[in-house]
Symmetry: D2
């Protein structure tokens, strides 16, 4: 596996005011790109500033992680029929706010990963995905979009022509069509760090993953999503990085600009 490189990303900067969330310091020593909450579902200007500085200190690539304007629901509730001009402006607002904080620290935002219910809706709804990607393009066409395989978000990113970062999950089972098995289903989540790491290694090596039904599904991983919201999650992320490097995979940020 010479010359193979993979990006590890995590959702960070999700504290808010007096409330702490996530093991950001530890995670920023493991991952190579961070999806930073932008104040609408989590995060606030101070948290964003500190997260950006931690990213810079750890040479981690900075991405925006915009979501619905739903602090009390942590952006996890689907809000129907968003007005497209409003949604578009909301995305640009959030990304721009983070970009300004990054600029004031001498850094820049390189990618966008949508959060929670908004991301789920963007996977399924063409018009919504189109609105989101178009908004990003209107602001900065060099920003990469993080998208799962087999989603409307991936299609629209390709169609509209923004850099695409194809994302895989270390700890989730896949359906035959390349989508994730829903969390409620038995076997949906993989808890064993070694098994999860082996799966990612296999994805990188073979560009395939075995679905929950035993079918070989094609995946092209640019970036692996890891979690940092519990001690177990941090351990898994650390084991994944160790395993990848031990097997000759370079863990490094994607390069789009």
């Amino acid at each position: 596996m010479k010359n193979i490189s993979i990006d590890l990303n995590a959702d960070l900067g999700e504290s808010f005011g007096a409330w702490k969330m996530g093991a950001d310091e530890q995670m920023l020593e493991i991952v190579t790109s961070a999806n930073v909450a932008c104040g609408f579902h989590a995060g606030d200007p101070l948290v964003m500033n500190r997260t950006v500085q931690l990213c810079i200190n750890n040479a981690v690539r900075i991405g925006a992680h915009p979501g619905f304007d739903d602090l009390s629901g942590f952006g996890r509730r689907r809000i129907l029929n968003p007005d497209s001009e409003h949604l578009s402006a909301s995305m640009i607002y959030q990304i721009g706010a983070l970009a300004a904080i990054a600029a004031s620290c001498g850094a820049q935002v390189s990618h966008v990963k949508f959060h929670g219910a908004l991301a789920n809706m963007a996977s399924e709804e063409r018009e919504l995905a189109h609105c989101l990607v178009s908004a990003v393009k209107a602001y900065d066409p060099q920003l990469a979009i993080v998208a799962m395989a087999a989603t409307e978000l991936q299609s629209q990113t390709e169609k509209i022509g923004l850099p695409l970062l194809r994302e895989v999950y270390a700890d989730r089972a896949y359906n035959d069509d390349g989508t994730l098995v829903s969390r409620g289903q038995p076997g949906a989540v993989i808890h064993d760090p070694v098994m999860a790491s082996d799966r990612v290694l296999q994805m990188i090596e073979t560009q395939c993953v075995e679905s929950i039904n035993g079918v070989k599904v094609k995946v092209v991983p640019d970036t692996v999503c890891v979690h940092g919201d519990s001690d177990g999650a941090v351990l898994m992320a650390r084991e994944l990085r160790r395993c990848l490097e031990a097997n000759g995979v370079q863990v490094a940020a994607y390069t789009t600009r």
Copy 2:
């Protein structure tokens, strides 16, 4: 009064969600620069987007109007002892959000005018004024700061070296030291459009204004603050512009970049 030019500014984009505020469409035909609320004390992404587009259509210069994170108080309540890193990041967040929306429309933000209680505190408190101006500089040192004469904000803007737009009021009486007479005081507010316009004309012509005590006070007006929150306010703004132009003063946006 050949070759004399003055800028007219107003606080705009102060609607929020379903709530409308201000005669923005009419005001944007009168003023030459707009201070656009950035979502913390008023405004929201959709309102900001529409306000920016109206500014572009009317060739009005776009400024950011950041305030305290106090929607229920409209940014008019003094919040004590703000943490300086937090305050700084809050300013950059708000300005950056507007800058991104402007960028997505092909425009840019050119100045910053602080709002309400934050502006009042920045007039009086050196450390706070220093924090605010430094934050703007860290983000973009080409942004101009709108400041009243004889304030800490003006001093810090000059000291830190950002472009300064010296602001005067058409409808307010002045103290002998160049500060405004408090609204509570008798004679503090000038209601007659003709009298207000004559005062501004005199300020431009003589670089002086007569204080409430009859003392001549030096003022150097770069921009005149006008209001657009009532029919009377719109009429006064319109009369001011008419009067200035009738007397040979060019009403045009400031030029700093």
Copy 3:
């Protein structure tokens, strides 16, 4: 039409902070019961206090008008899959907040009308309607629920056994099944105050309304919803009250306790 009495209700107290909405003073001289926003989609403690005092001064019955926790969307956006314990607690929180303000003024809350997207969802979704009505009952089983005919909300109110106020609309066309014609459809909204008033008179007299297809549909009106968000709306409400009284219908608050 001897001894016939009808209640007129309107959504009021929808201002927020510095933002004004609605002709509350005028409307409170026309209606007999008010649905007061409770701070989640509109209203704030000060607005609630003033609205309650206006209700008392006009002898208008006070009702709670709880909605989704969505100030930026004015409670008009459907938020999916609300957790039932959360939703229930949200309703009790809002009603209780208003009840306390009313109590401090020597008044009480007598009914509950759900707002916006929440009301629309409660019309269609049995489980949601059950959750809402059960929450009201857990707090105070004497509170009446305002519900449209042929809705899940009406069914659940009857099943759970809370006082029911059957609501009709003066300015909306009806489908054959007693539901409202969607606003998008031609003929959905009746703009002529006289025609609207005649329809309500007919509903009261005959307990029937002619549907958009000319079918006679049974309606039992306890309360008529009127609007106060524009000059035209206030005029229609005033004409409705005048017409009812001129035809011997007593306009008076419902009596459930």
Copy 4:
């Protein structure tokens, strides 16, 4: 120390949405009364509902813990010149929201303890303290007010005639006038659970506490404030309760109604 009884209170229910705060389950096995956040600076309807149920399960008295409408600042920032009608309505809103949730669970609110910056201001400012206590009285004159000795809040509670719960701190040094030594000062905070417990025992036994200058200061403790925001805090609370009971002091909720 026969027949002596003391109340232990803690600020609880300070989680918000996805963010957890405080060891509420453990603390509710130690304390006898809880100050429950009401959604303005912390807490939300779901958190309030769960906290109330935990209080009921542990036979802990329920109090309201209202604060400034400042979620991002956790109610710790002083907001100047609050309009008294607004402030009064805000208090009644918060207390009433909690009272309704308690009522829906078959319980009731028995006391009010103001939070953070609002509590600090109420200690110092007569007019503000008067406004707060009057608001509580207007809603329910049987609610007890928790107040520190030598504060405007205590004076106003006595003057207005509401039940008063005099509060002492286990882990804080006192000035000669009965006020707390500011946190910044050396020796202001007592970290040793045994020493803190001994001090409380002495306060109960002698109605005196030794000030930081060695002066005996009179204190009449009705309730002791304990913290639950860290493992150390929980340990101190547990040791305090153990020590009190070992010395024959009954740890039990206050009785005012």
